[in-house]
């Protein structure tokens, strides 16, 4: 569970929404980027919720420290058991962890939930979509030129198909991913689009990318970017983390057809 939460941990606080479907943990920054981690009810051995939906804000840094209280690397043969309880509005989030006969109780204060942004990203407005294996994208993202303020993403039905570009102090870098590559699982681009995003906002998504096996990259008619990461946890269960990012306003390009 902490792998999934670490993938969205780029700010101190997170919003937790619990429903019958499971938990959704949301982190936002600068009103331009939003990350959501989905922990579906199925990954828990037991998941009980009395109300339709329960929402609270919590310090994600503290939550992750508590989840990893027995150490972040698990010794072979030992498993940590976790139980989480929330008694309702105003109550703390209570965690009970056990490993090797040692028991830890944590009580984390919760706060008034904030409004989250609705990026209004719906599949009907998706112009371009690529699904690929995370491996090759990991290399590209790890080598992103941090002296460049923006990351430019080009997606097109024509060559170069998918190109990541940065413009830094040393010069410009372009990484091309052809659609015929083994790494590309699905390629669905209808229009040539070039969009620019602030590198500083996208950098946190690298954490999610490095834990993931597969990623889907989509842009809509406004140039908003949606990255969806498929992460497999230690038990082999699949969870999703998604990032929404608004394009950089200073240099908006026209959407050519």
């Amino acid at each position: 569970m902490s792998t999934i939460l670490k993938a969205v941990h780029f700010k101190e606080t997170a919003l937790v929404i619990a429903s019958a479907m499971g938990l959704k943990v949301t982190v936002e920054d600068s009103k331009c980027i939003q990350a959501n981690a989905f922990l579906q009810a199925g990954i828990f051995q037991e998941f009980l919720i009395k109300e339709e939906q329960v929402t609270f804000k919590i310090n994600l840094t503290v939550l992750l420290e508590c989840l990893n209280i027995f150490g972040s690397s698990s010794t072979p043969g030992s498993t940590t058991a976790l139980r989480m309880c929330y008694a309702g509005y105003g109550s703390p989030l209570v965690l009970m962890l056990e490993e090797g006969g040692v028991l830890t109780n944590c009580s984390i204060k919760t706060q008034e939930p904030d409004e989250t942004l609705d990026f209004n990203f719906c599949s009907t407005n998706v112009i371009n979509k690529i699904i690929m294996k995370s491996e090759c994208l990991k290399e590209a993202f790890n080598e992103l030129d941090m002296t460049s303020e923006i990351l430019q993403i080009l997606m097109s039905p024509d060559k170069p198909y998918f190109r990541l570009s940065t413009f830094g102090n040393a010069g410009s870098t372009h990484s091309d991913f052809p659609k015929e590559s083994d790494m590309v699982e699905a390629f669905n681009c209808t229009q040539t689009q070039t969009n620019r995003y602030k590198v500083s906002l996208l950098k946190p998504s690298v954490k999610a990318l490095s834990s993931s096996v597969r990623v889907s990259i989509r842009t809509d008619n406004r140039g908003f970017l949606s990255l969806q990461f498929m992460i497999k946890n230690e038990d082999g269960q699949v969870c999703f983390v998604e990032y929404y990012c608004a394009p950089d306003e200073d240099m908006e390009e026209d959407y050519d057809s």
Partner: protein, 289 residues
């Protein structure tokens, strides 16, 4: 004042290196005391001022194949040197595969302990590395500061759970607060608790054993009269600085045979670590609320 010792067994060399590494993790500078039978690493902290103190003792015959020392005078047959243990660790790093290591008290402009390390060589010519570790000779008038701390009446004693587990937990708790409450009771339960405005985390260890009144003292001749012991106390809770506790639990290079935790409520938490022939005592002052 003279001192020379030769370490010839690779296991002794590694053993000595491990002990000094542990000490270097606990203190930046400390005092090395040498007498006819033992070698000591001492940090005399004052409980009143809230400092930790350390007393580490190992028999010289278990390290040195050849050993020769002459103290300050006949009636003060000891040597006290102030030094930085990290410097010894660096010198001993060259000795990982050494054939032998010679340690000698020398005077090279300033007093030093000179480490001469003979390394294995592919040719017939010997390969030697020499390290000079500067030391400060402590005058006789200050020796009283470096006496072995008396093990006072403790309220409660318990054998610690595996330090590795404690280390993981304390390392995480370090990020949540500055102080940790340590509670121990006679049912073999120990609790570590961090509490701040935002979060409260408590970890409980069960089924720990309590040493009987004699076994925690490393001197088997120490006996306790019923009036002295405070066995009536069922449980104790003290507050200590978490960084200093973390420092102790993270310092061990090997899994020690025995780690006893003795608590004197309102005063100190005393950790006594026994491993083979080495005893390490770490005194952690209790912080009042």
């Amino acid at each position: 004042m003279r001192f020379r010792g030769k370490l010839m067994d690779i296991e002794c060399i590694q053993h000595f290196t491990r002990v000094v590494s542990t000490v270097s993790k606990l203190a930046k500078t400390c005092t090395l005391k040498i007498d006819r039978s033992n070698v000591y690493f001492i940090l005399p902290g004052s409980v009143v001022s809230g400092d930790i103190s350390i007393w580490c003792e190992l028999p010289q015959c278990h390290i040195f194949t050849e050993f020769n020392m002459e103290g300050l005078s006949e009636d003060a047959d000891e040597i006290f040197l102030e030094l930085t243990p990290e410097n010894i660790v660096k010198a001993m790093k060259s000795a990982r595969n050494a054939k032998w290591v010679k340690m000698k008290l020398t005077n090279k402009h300033i007093p030093c302990i000179t480490f001469e390390v003979e390394l294995p060589s592919l040719t017939n010519l010997p390969r030697t590395v020499i390290h000079d570790v500067p030391v400060c000779v402590i005058p006789r008038r200050s020796w009283a500061e470096f006496q072995e701390p008396k093990l006072t009446d403790f309220d409660i004693s318990i054998y610690m759970p595996p330090l590795k587990v404690v280390k993981n937990i304390v390392d995480r708790m370090k990020h949540l607060g500055n102080f940790v409450m340590l509670s121990v009771n006679r049912n073999g339960e120990m609790t570590l608790k961090v509490e701040t405005d935002l979060v409260s985390v408590s970890t409980h260890f069960y089924n720990l054993t309590c040493p009987n009144s004699r076994s925690w003292s490393k001197d088997p001749s120490v006996t306790r009269t019923p009036t002295q012991s405070r066995h009536q106390i069922k449980s104790v809770e003290v507050r200590v600085n978490i960084q200093k506790l973390a420092q102790f639990v993270s310092s061990q290079q090997v899994v020690p045979q025995k780690v006893v935790c003795n608590i004197h409520a309102n005063r100190t938490v005393h950790f006594l670590l026994l491993h083979n022939d080495v005893t390490l005592q770490y005194f952690l002052p209790v912080v009042s609320m």
